[in-house]
Symmetry: C2
Subunit: 345 residues, 2 copies
DNA sequence: CTGAAAGCGCTTACAG
DNA sequence: CTGAAAGCGCTTACAG
């Protein structure tokens, strides 16, 4: 059990009777190497149990072989977020193909976040993906100042200048919201409330705007909106507030599953039947939502595909292309049992 | 916006009129540098906007400055797992202090997992933390063969040889389970069931063994055990199975919150009142559990502290110490509203 | 198809 | 307290 892996490309070269350059070429395939010497090299490497040092390669190629991802949300919230781990797994899928890795950072303050991006830019990552983007997000300027390649993940098609010219992968959250409103309205609901996500997030704002637009287009009152923060606790509180209204809504559209599930639980504990007395919908398609009783109508956001697309787009940018704004169209409403006609008055 | 960061330590040295070595020393403090030249160096660096290249430093020091973490669970399951993101945030806390990062990999097959460890060992990480450990986990031998420093996270004190001599951070899951059984038994329950996690995981097995031991010690029947897989879907199915019994249990102890929440939802949809007709408990303290109605009695596992401790321990191992087995004693039962006396027969 | 050599940008003995 | 130089282990023009 003595320290292994001290064998270098030089040892392999010597063992195979070739130069270090040839060993390198045999693996990279960047120039032809005769079949015979290639075999000699491979068996020498196998015999010596050699693997190229990632650190040396990184310095020589000026590539770290990793992308950065920084999560700036409270870990408690992240914990129950259906999006992240699926997104991560999508990223990993394409990173693995390219022999790359993912540097993950969790921060809780703005200063810490700033620092992390500086460290990433200093050679710990070749580029980053920007999540939970805000209006005029300060990170847009930061990554550009740092010369750190980045792609931003957004919830709608960026208007000009909105993402400061950075490559963007966007899904449009609006159609799904419109569809949910339609589902509720067509079941006969007229008093429909929305428990929104924070409006400073683009995805929070977009969902709320889509809700209002859809309601108004049907001539319905769109004023029943409470802003939550994606946590179960805010979902529960918002639901309590709505149920306490003199004219409580008969349907509530939540901006994510966690808030919806907490709301569902609260409603039932008050003797409000779901969906007979109250219809509900979530957003994000968490595993729980499908296995609740009743199962929660929600929206699958194609988080895995967005992860894949985000990485693909970042790699394209690293290769010198300008990917522009690319659409991820995997958002789908999943109608389940939590929406039914409203009770007779 | 031309490519920045092409400024090197040599530029700074020249600008400050010193050697590259002195610049290096001024920052690392590994040898004294006169206050005056230090200032010259710092202002030169500031003026040129220089930051040391992480890649070059990594090669020179034979340290990557990152630890590896590989998640081998289904992303759908991870998504709703209360443990990971808190654990990650704990890791980050101490990594940040040491100017280090975290390489995260998500894999779904055993081969992929094997490959990931080889890549990590090739210089992408200085060490790894082993999660979701199994009996005779093949990774123990793998990391040792690869010469990859590792610490394992376990759910009980390792018996000799169990973790192959690797440094181990363990929390003992047994006392919390014993306490939950006591809570239920003292409320008057005798037919208590357990919906377990997979027995091939150490934490799954330990919780189940603790359940059986606690039940037997009280002279209660410990045979009502169903093995789930930590998903909401398995929690729902197991609960259905239990409620369909001719003599259904009056209390169910679940091995994690997700299964418990799905079980709670199913029970109520069948008209079974919680906690009046059925008492329930979870494990992991997910954010949702506290904001459900009724709030779920569960177990806080100190995931953040365990993350911190795991990294601290790994850093100690990297520094050449032998940390042995260290106890993380932050497991606490959180009594809430989901346990009450059983209904009168 | 292959070799010898320079270079990537730091750190760290070795001298002074 | 400081400098000059070697070294970390690869890759990649440059020659042949």
């Amino acid at each position: 059990m003595s320290a292994p892996s001290k064998v270098t490309i030089g040892d392999v070269a010597r063992h195979a009777g070739v130069s270090k350059g040839t060993v390198s070429l045999a693996y990279s395939g960047k120039r032809p190497v005769s079949e015979e010497t290639r075999q000699r090299i491979f068996s020498a490497a196998a015999e010596l149990n050699w693997t190229a040092s990632h650190r040396a390669r990184a310095l020589a190629t000026a590539r770290t072989g990793a992308i950065g991802l920084v999560m700036a949300r409270d870990p408690e919230v992240l914990a129950t977020d259906a999006f992240f781990s699926k997104f991560l797994s999508g990223c990993e899928r394409v990173l693995a193909e390219h022999d790359m890795g993912l540097m993950l950072h969790a921060v809780t303050t703005a200063e810490a976040e700033h620092l992390v991006y500086e460290r990433l830019a200093a050679g710990r990552a070749d580029g980053v993906i920007l999540l939970d983007v805000e209006i005029d997000d300060p990170r847009f300027a930061l990554v550009q100042r740092l010369g750190l390649p980045a792609v931003v993940l957004s919830a709608h098609e960026p208007t000009r200048g909105e993402t400061a010219g950075l490559p963007t992968v966007f899904s449009d959250d609006s159609p799904a919201i419109t569809e949910l409103v339609a589902l509720m309205a067509e079941a006969g609901h007229t008093r429909i409330a929305h428990v929104a996500g924070p409006a400073h997030y683009i995805h929070g704002r977009i969902r709320q705007e889509a809700f209002s637009a859809a309601m108004r287009k049907r001539g319905l009152d769109d004023s029943l909106v409470i802003e939550g923060d994606f946590t179960a606790s805010s979902g529960r509180d918002a639901t309590a507030q709505l149920l306490d209204l003199p004219q409580p809504p008969t349907a509530i559209l939540f901006a994510n599953d966690m808030m919806a599930i907490a709301g569902l639980s609260l409603a039932r504990s008050r003797g409000v039947r779901v969906p007979e007395d109250l219809s509900l919908s979530g957003y994000d398609d968490s595993e729980l939502s499908a296995h609740l009783s009743p199962a929660l109508t929600t929206v699958s956001t194609g988080a895995v595909q967005r992860g894949q697309l985000a990485v693909t787009t970042l790699l394209a940018a690293l290769a010198g292309e300008d990917p522009g704004a690319v659409l991820a169209d995997h958002t789908t409403v999943l109608p389940r049992d939590s929406i039914a006609p409203p009770p007779r008055p």
